[in-house]
Point group: C2
Chain length 330, copies 2
C-alpha cells in the first residue's frame, strides 16, 4: 500500500488561517480553518499553523507531504524566506519565517505572496487550467495581483511584480491608502465600495442603502452588491464605477501582456454580474489588443480556495523538473 501523495497549502490571512492537504491533482483532501490570532503575536500564529499542519499530516496517515506552500498577505523576500512588508502581519518583517517553520516541521516550506498564490491556483485547477499564462486581480479589502507566464509566477527582479492594486487608473482621482491618487484599489476594493456607499449615504443620496446597512449593522461591499442586484440606482452607479475602473486597469494589462486570460478574484468578484458589463465596455474601447485577440476575462473559478490551492501547488511545482526557476527572474 502506498501512502497518499499530498502537498500542504496555507492561506495565512490577517483574519483567517486556513490549511489544507491537497492531492497532486488539486483535490482538497483535508482542511482546517482557524482564526489568525494576529494580536497574540507572531509566535502564537506560527505555533497555531504548525499545530494544524501536524494535525492534518496525522489525518493523512503514514506519508509525508511533498512540502508546504504558504500564501502571505505581503511582499516576500524569496531569497531569504522572510516577509519584507505586510501591513496585516505587524512584527513579521525581518524574521526568518521560512527557516523557522522548516525547522519546526522538518519539511520544505515555500512562502509566496497571497495574490500570486491565488493566480497560480487558478492556473493549476481553476479558470486558467487550459492556458499557460494569465493575470489575476484579487479584489478584497485591498487589491492584489498575480501574473503567471509560461506556467510560473512572474516575480520580477525583487519578487514584487504584480503589485497591480496600485496601478494608477486616474491620475487625479481618489486618494488611495498608499498616498497616491487614483490607484485601482481606491475604486474596486471592498473598502472602496463601502467607502463610496458611505459617501452616498452621508449626503442623503441613498436612503435604501442606509436602511440596508442599518438592518445588517454595517455597510459592506456585499450589501451594496445585493442592493445593486435589486436595482438600487446608487448601488448600481457604484458598481458601474467599479467596472469602468477595472476596465481601464485590465485594458492596460491586456495591452502590456497579451495573455489569453484575465481573472477577477477576491470577495468583490462575487459581484461580477454587477460590474461585468461596464468592465467589458471599457476594455473593448481602450485595448487594441483586446479587440484584435479577444482574450477571456472571467471571475475566479476557485473563489476563496484559489490561494489555498495555489499555495499547495507550490511544492509540487518546485519538485517538477525545471519547475522552480523558469519565468520567475528578471
Amino acid at each position: 500500500m502506498t501512502a497518499t501523495q499530498y502537498g500542504i497549502g496555507v492561506d495565512l490571512g490577517g483574519t483567517n488561517l486556513r490549511i489544507a492537504a491537497v492531492s497532486p491533482t488539486g483535490e482538497i483532501l483535508e482542511k482546517i480553518a482557524l482564526d489568525t490570532e494576529v494580536k497574540e503575536g507572531r509566535e502564537r500564529v506560527i505555533a497555531d499553523m504548525c499545530g494544524a499542519i501536524e494535525e492534518l499530516c496525522g489525518r493523512m496517515g503514514s506519508g509525508r507531504p511533498a512540502g508546504i506552500g504558504i500564501g502571505v498577505p505581503g511582499i516576500i523576500n524569496l531569497g531569504t524566506g522572510m516577509i519584507r512588508q505586510s501591513p496585516n502581519l505587524p512584527g513579521w518583517s525581518d524574521f526568518p519565517v521560512r527557516a523557522d517553520i522548516e525547522n519546526r516541521l522538518n519539511t520544505q516550506v515555500i512562502l509566496e505572496n497571497d495574490a500570486n498564490a491565488a493566480a497560480l491556483g487558478e492556473k493549476w485547477v481553476g479558470a486558467g487550467k487550459d492556458v499557460s499564462g494569465l493575470c489575476m486581480l484579487t479584489l478584497g479589502t485591498g487589491i492584489g495581483g498575480g501574473i503567471i507566464l509560461d506556467g510560473h509566477i512572474w516575480h520580477g527582479r525583487d519578487g514584487m511584480a504584480g503589485e497591480l492594486g496600485h496601478m494608477t487608473i486616474d491620475p487625479n482621482g481618489q486618494l488611495c491608502g498608499c498616498g497616491n491618487l487614483g490607484c485601482i484599489e481606491a475604486y474596486a476594493s471592498a473598502t472602496a465600495i463601502a467607502h463610496m456607499a458611505h459617501a452616498a449615504i452621508n449626503v442623503g443620496r441613498s436612503p435604501a442603502l442606509s436602511r440596508a446597512a442599518e438592518e445588517v449593522g454595517e455597510l459592506t461591499a456585499e450589501i451594496v452588491f445585493i442592493m445593486a442586484q435589486q436595482g438600487d440606482r446608487v448601488a448600481r452607479e457604484i458598481f458601474d464605477l467599479v467596472g469602468r475602473s477595472l476596465g481601464v486597469a485590465v485594458a492596460n494589462l491586456i495591452n502590456a501582456f497579451n495573455l489569453p486570460l484575465y481573472v477577477l478574484g477576491g470577495g468583490v468578484a462575487r459581484g461580477w454580474e454587477a460590474f461585468r458589463q461596464p468592465l467589458l465596455e471599457e476594455v473593448q474601447k481602450r485595448s487594441v489588443v483586446y479587440r484584435a485577440t479577444t482574450p477571456r476575462i472571467e471571475p475566479s473559478a476557485l473563489g476563496a480556495e484559489a490561494g489555498l490551492l495555489g499555495a499547495a501547488y507550490l511544492p509540487f511545482q518546485h519538485a517538477a523538473p525545471g519547475g522552480a526557476a523558469s519565468a520567475s527572474k528578471a
Copy 2:
C-alpha cells in the same frame, strides 16, 4: 582565413529604410540608408531592401549572413511571417513578407515589431546590456513598447504584447488617434507635443514658440524641446506634462513587471533633460515597487540605432541554443 561573421539588421520605417551588417558583438560594420518608397508600393520597397542587403553582403566579402532581422512598424504574425496591421505600410497585410524575402535572398528572415527590436537592441548592447529584463517605450510619431524578459522579447500569445503606446493614463483625457481617451501616445509622442504647441499658439499663449515655428517652417517636438531648454514657459509646461504622463505609465509598468530597467527611446527621448524630473517625481509618488527597489529609468543608449541593432541580433539569438522560444509564448 575565415570570413567575417555578421547578421543583417533592417529598420523598415514609414520614411527611412536602413540596413546594416552587424558583428556578433554588436558593431555596425556596414550600413546603407535609403528612403522607404512607400508610395511606389510594396514590391518596390522589398526590391530596394533586397538590393541593399545584397550590396551589403557583397561588401562583407565571402561569408554569408547569420540571417536577416527586420523591424517593422506594425503588428507581426510570428507564425506566418506576415504583417497583421501597419498604418505606415499600406498594402503589406496578408502578404507573405518573410517567405518572399527568404525566397529572394535564400537566407533566414525574422520579422519583428520595431519597438520590440529596439528593446532587444538596448538589451543586447545598449542601456540594458548588464540586465536580463527591461521595458522600453519608443517615443516617436506614435509610441511603441517592447518588453524583454529573461533576455527575450515577450510576445504574449499573439505577438501583440508591449502595445504600451495605448495604455490609458487618464481615462477622461486627450483623444488618441486610436479613438480612446487618454492613451500615453496622446501625451508623449512627437505628434502630441507638436499638437500641444499648436494649441498654445492658436490661443496666443506663446508668441515665442510661434516665431520659432515660423523661422523653421514647421512646429516639431524638437523645436518645443529647444524652446523649453531656453526657458520658454509654455514649452516647459508641455514637457512637464510629457514627463508626468510618462511617469504614470512607467509607474504602472514598474508595479506590474518589477524589472531592473525602463528605457525611453525614440526621437522624443532626445528631450530627456526636459521631462526627466517630472517623470521621476510621478514614478516616486505612484509606484510602491519603485520606492522599494529603485530600478533604473534611463534614455536609450543606442538612440536611432536601437532598432537596427536589435533587428540584427535576432538571427544570432535565434541560432543560440534554446534561443528562439523561451519567454516568448503565453
